[in-house]
Amino acid sequence: MDFSLNDIQQMLQDSASRFVRNDYGFASRRAIVESAAGYSAAHWQTYAELGWLALPFPEEVGGMGGSLSDLMVLQTELGRGLIVEPYLATVVMAGNLINRHAAAGQKQALLEALISGEQLFSFAGFEAAAQHDIRLISTTAGADGDGYRLNGHKAVVIGAGLGGKLVVVARTGGRPGDAGGLSLFLLDEDAEGVSLQGYTTNDGLRAADVRLSDVLVGPEALLGDAGTAAPAINAMLNDAIVALSAEAVGVMETLLSRTVEFCKVRKQFGVPIGSFQVLQHRMADMFMECEQARSMLYYATIAVAGGCDADVAASRLKVRIGKAARLVGQQAIQLHGGMGVTDELDVGHYFKRLTMINTQLGSRDAHLHRLVQLQSVA
């Protein structure tokens, strides 16, 4: 039993924390969000040089062979900086899926391009009717000659529109509701029949709705075997929930410390407002939520990495994070008073990210519902 950081994790934490402190101040983040590109290509190269893009991939494809807990440590620090570069989309989701499901011959080149920083990827899986339940996906990839013809509409593809490649989930078999029949395809964003409707999300990320209209691809666009992608997607989503939750923990801990600092200096009635017991207890509640969220993160990281009841562990984590995020986020705004609702102060932007994290990869209610269904049939 040991929860202390090992040497690699300590190094990751130090380098990420230094990067956020020195190179990712709130003003420079704002400039990145408002830039035409929507992310910093220069920072992305830095992430490559620091080894962050290589972290979770096996050594034989040029990765670092890092564990899920290594990823957790890094993501928590990136959360403190409100990083907008598509790390989750490219590394944790699309890259993870390529590594899990692509054929050996495909994997090498794709992951080398990812790890070097020259290629971005996004995960085009979710749909409006399916929300985050991949079994309900309806996008089709019918056989066409020796290739496929793709039709469908992918909703809110985070990181799409940055010129990267799309990892698309489509049905080569089965019907919505079946886990079988799901396949992965690699598409260019500007391929014929692919149209992107790009936008910025509420929390400053770039994303797009992706429409696929009779997109014709050759057999080489299929990643791995046809019809069998569901287990890999599911495992990837569990990892992604852990990584996203780790980011949430970094965001929440930052909000707590910002709020405590603010209440020590903000004076009303001639005294710091933090001298009022009603506010102290509110901050004690925020502190407890942060600690319980961190503990749940440890539980789920160990369970998901160990493959022990991973689906349940990931859902339980997302429920717990959603609950904590609501209290910590809302109370951080409340205790900052009017300043909390301004665009000027960074606190509101942490709150906006936290709110979107609850939606991303399935909300607290959605995962709670899933757990209730699992319990009821258990």
Binding site: M1, D2, E291, Q292, M296, Y299, R316, V372
Partner: protein, 398 residues
């Protein structure tokens, strides 16, 4: 990062399991499993079985006859004890006054008191709260005035749990009121059979006699019963309060109660509502289970820090609040599971040896009294509001 046990810890767990299988009195286990309250003899029988095994001093150092167990071993022990339906270890002697005596007492006191505490030959109770000193414990008024070789004690203590079973009481008494209120408090051991000591029952919402008022009228206490220095009692009491940080959350018993509830829902006996189809109830159950898992990992984080030689982090301050909130959430879930048979008040159904016909499912009518009784957990040991004051001050720096 891992929660793996070592080979030695796994072997230890097996030994603990065997102990509970073979050496815990079966009658005691049955009572706990049936939701009956163990009586004095049951507790003593269990604790003496632990003593025979050398396990009574769970958190005591070896030199005083304790186990000297690591944090991980204690975690294993408490989990196995709860899983085996062992009653709680009555804390007043083994977890409270014992550690104070071996930490601050003199050699004579150690020799006189520790062996009987360890062997559960003497029942202790705690004299802290007073009618006008609850959350503001340092405002206590029970007075001890020196008179030659004795202190003369006058005053009263309240909420004295199982004081009617007790042979001795450890008390915080005021020996000086000239300075700061924390500074005039002393730690005194008092024989309950001393002339002038009276115990009066307090009946709680569940109809039970568990707590008492204890009155002291010109009680003569030999000065050799003072622990440590006069006026330092507050310091000792604080050490005592933080002594057993790991077990305060009650994670292991809560896990047991949750597992029992899930087993009940999976195969509900006649008269129990079929709650597995009730998504509202199940959502509450799932969220309680998640909170409990979080807390278990918070506790493991504390244990892991201690095990690697570090001081427990700030997360240790949430154990009492979260642990008691979860206990009360479980009370509410169980009350719901009792359905319509939550209503009858039939305490005799839970007496040992009851052979009449059960009213409703056997467990059901005990759930409301338990719910009432357990409202105490967010009040005792420093109310949860006081705990939040402590977090604000010691962790957040207000």
């Amino acid at each position: 990062m891992n929660i793996d046990f070592t080979e030695e810890e796994l072997a230890f767990r097996e030994e603990v399991r065997q102990f509970f299988r073979n050496e815990m009195p079966a009658s005691v286990r049955d009572k706990v499993a049936r939701g009956c309250w163990p009586d004095r003899e049951d507790h003593v029988a269990y604790q003496q079985a632990l003593y025979e095994k050398g396990w009574a001093g769970v958190n005591w150092p070896v030199e005083y006859g304790g186990t000297g167990w690591s944090a991980a071993q204690r975690y294993i022990f408490y989990n196995e004890a709860a899983a085996a339906d062992a009653p709680r270890i009555i804390p007043f002697g083994l977890a409270m006054v014992g550690p104070v005596i071996y930490t601050f007492g003199n050699d004579e006191q150690k020799a006189r008191f520790l062996p009987d505490i360890l062997a559960s030959r003497v029942w202790w109770c705690q004299g802290y709260s007073e009618p006008n000193a609850g959350s503001d414990l340092a405002g206590l008024k029970t007075r001890a005035v020196r008179d030659g070789a004795h202190y003369i004690v006058n005053g009263s203590k309240t909420w004295t749990t199982l004081g009617h079973y007790a042979d001795w009481i450890f008390c915080l008494v005021r020996t000086d009121d000239s300075g700061k209120k924390q500074e005039g408090i002393s730690f005194l051991l008092i024989d309950m059979t001393s002339p002038g000591v009276t115990v009066k029952p307090i009946i709680t919402l569940d109809g039970r006699h568990e707590v008492n008022e204890v009155f002291f009228e010109d009680v003569r206490v030999p000065v050799e019963n003072l622990v440590g220095e006069e006026g330092k009692g507050w310091t000792y009491a604080k050490v005592l309060l933080t002594h057993e940080r790991t077990n305060i959350a009650g994670v292991a018993p809560s896990k047991r109660r949750l597992a029992r509830l899930k087993a009940l829902l999976a195969d509900p006996p006649a008269g129990v509502p079929s709650l597995r189809e009730n998504a509202v109830f199940m959502a509450r159950l799932v969220e309680t289970e998640i909170e409990l898992t979080s807390l278990e990992y918070t506790e493991l984080r504390v244990l892991s820090a201690v095990a690697t030689g570090k001081a427990p982090g700030p997360e240790s301050s949430i154990l009492k609040i979260k642990g008691t909130e979860i206990q009360q959430a479980l009370d509410e879930l169980w009350l719901e599971a009792a359905g319509i048979y939550a209503m009858p008040f039939v305490p005799e159904q839970y007496q040992a040896g009851f052979e009449g016909e059960s009213i409703g499912p056997h467990f059901a009518p005990s759930m409301a009294p338990l719910y009432y009784n357990n409202r105490k957990v967010t009040i005792y040991g420093g109310t949860n509001e006081i705990q939040k004051n402590i977090i604000a001050k010691q962790v957040l720096g207000f």
